[in-house]
């Protein structure tokens, strides 16, 4: 009998913890322009290599390289840059508003702006996104974005479209192709697949875009979503935003060690791409590819967007307790705004001056929207939603027991 060592439970750990740097060599990277762009009708099995590579367009000097470089004019990229600057300004302002107790809670998408903003510019008007709580860029990029309404939702005030029922950031906007956000992780991914199946059943040409973070891929609904999307060849894009962290938990604990999240799609027979999430051009190009694939009936695509959660998980979180303070600055894929800025300046379509002016303009736009929203109240002032409205919309028509409870509440208030 050979002597064996006692078994030992493997518990993955991030290389970096407070006080010592992260070794980012765990991330498989590829050079900008190095990866092929297959045809949109590619067989899923023929994308397996791309699930372990990294599709990148912008190199360190801000040049657009290779087959994934989208052939788009500078105006679209300028729009994308403005959208990212607006999203970042919005987050910064709302963070302050939360600290001022105008709202109970907030979540930034700092460092992840390119993914949602590029996606929003690529996607069609009738398509439906099934977002998580960290895709505010999808809303803010839209030309018809209603920032005032978003802030009213954050404040739960009298103009809150969610009528004060939802935690801040749990937006819903059917008309803007933005499905109601749920606190329960991963549930919306399988719903997005169902929406896409419905589009196919009705012979429509609309595509669903479902979103999930790296941590939530461990939920069962992620697996069911991949299975149903594959089985029914649903016109859906499954977006896994791998920002390396699920609150305090490094992505290795979600199952990222020695593999990729894109590899899950490949294993389920879904065409899968792994894309530089801080590269606006790659984000736009990959989304367009997956959209074209879905809309043409060639089936679903899984995209792992490799990025970094530069901010705290939420306003209730302090990342200095579990990761190095300088982590975002050392992340090898850099900052999405800086990278697109450099590219546009390289094209002669942007300048440092224009950047500063735009930044200020975006901050002013957010400040103005905030001011307008505050006319309708904040969480703690008197302009809230009526208490009686709490009983509405549980059902289509208010049943007898809720009518009675609403009356009990009114009587209890000494009305």
């Amino acid at each position: 009998m050979p002597q064996r060592k006692p078994l030992h439970l493997h518990v993955p750990e991030p290389t970096g913890r407070p006080g010592h740097d992260t070794d980012f060599s765990y991330l498989p990277l590829s050079a900008a322009g190095a990866k092929r762009r297959p045809p949109v009708d590619v067989a899923a099995a023929q994308t397996n290599d791309l699930a372990f590579a990294l599709i990148r367009v912008l190199d360190d000097d801000g040049r657009a390289l290779g087959p994934w470089a989208p052939q788009v004019d500078a105006a679209l990229l300028q729009r994308g840059l403005r959208a990212m600057l607006l999203t970042r300004a919005f987050d910064a302002r709302m963070l302050i508003a939360q600290r001022q107790k105008k709202m109970s809670f907030y979540m930034q998408c700092l460092g992840e702006e390119a993914i949602a903003c590029a996606h929003a510019l690529a996607i069609g008007d009738g398509d439906m996104c099934f977002p998580t709580y960290r895709q505010q860029g999808l809303l803010l990029t839209r030309e018809d974005n209603n920032m005032v309404e978003m802030i009213c939702q954050l404040y739960s005030n009298e103009r809150d479209p969610m009528k004060g029922r939802q935690l801040p950031v749990m937006y819903s906007s059917k008309k803007q192709g933005f499905f109601s956000i749920s606190g329960n992780l991963a549930t919306q991914v399988i719903q997005g697949v169902g929406w896409a199946m419905a589009s196919a059943i009705k012979g429509d040409d609309k595509v669903a875009s479902a979103w999930i973070g790296d941590g939530a891929t461990a939920e069962a609904d992620f697996h069911t979503a991949l299975t149903f999307a594959h089985v029914y060849r649903a016109p859906v894009i499954i977006n896994v935003v791998n920002n390396q962290w699920a609150i305090s938990t490094f992505q290795a604990i979600a199952g990222g060690e020695g593999t990729t999240f894109a590899a899950r799609g490949a294993g389920c027979g879904i065409a899968s791409l792994r894309v530089d999430g801080n590269d606006f051009l790659a984000c736009f190009a990959a989304t367009k590819w997956a959209l074209e694939r879905a809309r043409s009936g060639f089936g679903p695509t899984l995209i792992e967007w490799v990025t970094y959660r530069a901010g705290p998980h939420s306003t209730s979180d302090d990342p200095s307790k579990y990761r190095p303070a300088n982590d975002a600055a050392r992340f090898p894929l850099g900052d999405p705004i800086e990278r697109l800025k450099k590219h546009l300046i390289g094209l002669g379509a942007w300048s440092d001056e224009e950047h500063e002016v735009t930044k200020k303009a975006m901050e002013a736009q957010v400040a103005a929207a905030q001011k307008e929203a505050e006319q309708f109240g904040t969480l703690t002032d008197a302009h809230g939603q009526s208490a009686a409205s709490m009983f509405e919309d549980v059902y289509e028509h208010m049943p007898a027991h809720l009518l009675r409870q609403r009356q009990e509440l009114q009587l209890g208030q000494g009305a």
């Binding site: 499905f179 719903q191 009705k202 669903a208 609904d221 549980v394 007898a400």
Partner: protein, 345 residues
């Protein structure tokens, strides 16, 4: 609630009545889709969807992977798109993987989005015991759903109601948990397992209109008028209670709840105020079962009319056993004894 042209009736089992309801709705509403495990080509392990795929095509009626969370989750998404999905969970005992989608999503979508998105879906699931189904083919999980705000929970006890309630559920814009007592699929069952099975063709409620009609939700039905005691029951227990009333000689008024929640409180309260006594009967386990809520409601609304403590006859607080089926199942003897007790109190 009937179309004038749908008065042609035919004898149907509950299986045929449910199938007819889905056929009628697949024909009437192009947004209705039917899917679940073994539901498509094969027509369902209980034959409830037999022939529907052949008639309506595989874009409307289709087989699904074995994934309850996936089945309900996709249905929520389809509802958001504008379809009206009717999905099946093969046994109510297997609904648990879908509870997150049912409780956190389907039930709350309208509320949390302030009506921006809605969830007009029907989730069918065979439930109940009395068939030697053991632990995972016999459960009655209705209390898990009646406790969830935003859901409607419905359970028929005969073919006529099964079809009318299923059509009403499919048409309803709220999510509906539609529980089907599989013990009643082929014939009424009063708990006398020692006697031969009676087919629905011998029962007046086995005569079912062939076309469109509905039985309204939130409405109970008095199946046996009586003056001495009110029995509140649903599903298989309606037939058990009828047998118990006949055999005990107690002039019980039997109410078939039909809609478990929201429910028809007026019918319950009117009856108990008249009889002054109340026995609640369900197959599900006792503690925190729906009976506890029914008991509370009767106590709250009928306290000054009650002549005796309210009784509950239910399954025991154990998993559903196999060999001890008839000691577990609340049969007519146990219900009859409860009727005697409340009359003597």
């Amino acid at each position: 609630m009937r179309d004038t042209n749908s008065m042609n009736t035919a004898p149907m089992t509950m299986i045929q009545a449910l199938r007819s309801a889905m056929d009628v709705m697949l024909t009437r509403d192009p947004n209705v889709v039917v899917y679940g495990q073994d539901v498509g080509y094969f027509g369902g392990v209980f034959r409830c969807t037999e022939g529907l795929q052949q008639k309506h095509g595989n874009q409307r009626v289709f087989d699904a992977p074995i994934s309850e969370g996936g089945i309900v989750g996709t249905a929520v998404g389809m509802g958001a798109y504008g379809l009206r999905p009717v999905v099946e969970i093969q046994f109510a005992d297997y609904v648990y993987p879908a509870t997150d989608q049912i409780v956190s999503e389907a039930a709350r979508l309208r509320y949390r989005s302030a009506g921006d998105f809605t969830c007009p879906l029907t989730i069918r699931m065979p439930c109940g015991g009395g068939i030697y189904g053991g632990q995972t083919h016999s459960q009655s999980p209705e209390a898990i759903f009646t406790q969830v705000c935003g859901l409607r929970t419905v359970m028929p006890s005969n073919p006529y109601d099964a079809k009318g309630l299923l059509i009403a559920s499919i048409e309803n814009n709220d999510p509906v948990i539609f529980l089907e007592p599989k013990r009643l699929y082929n014939g009424p069952f009063d708990g006398h397992h020692e006697r031969p099975v009676v087919p629905w063709s011998k029962h007046p409620l086995g005569e079912v209109p062939e076309g469109y009609y509905t039985v309204p939700l939130d409405s109970a039905r008095i199946t046996r008028p009586g003056a001495a005691v009110t029995v509140i029951a649903y599903g298989t227990m309606v037939h058990v209670a009828e047998a118990a009333a006949n055999e005990s000689g107690v002039d019980a008024e039997i109410i078939d709840l039909r809609s478990l929640w929201p429910l028809d409180l007026d019918t319950l309260v009117t009856s108990v105020k008249k009889t002054g006594r109340c026995v609640i009967v369900h197959e599900a386990t006792r503690t925190n079962g729906l009976g506890a809520e029914l008991m509370s409601l009767v106590q709250e609304h009928c306290f000054y009319h009650l002549e005796a403590p309210i009784e509950r006859v239910t399954g025991w607080d154990t998993p559903y056993p196999h060999a001890q089926e008839w000691s577990y199942f609340p049969g007519p003897a146990r219900v009859g004894a409860a009727l005697q007790r409340v009359m003597e109190a």
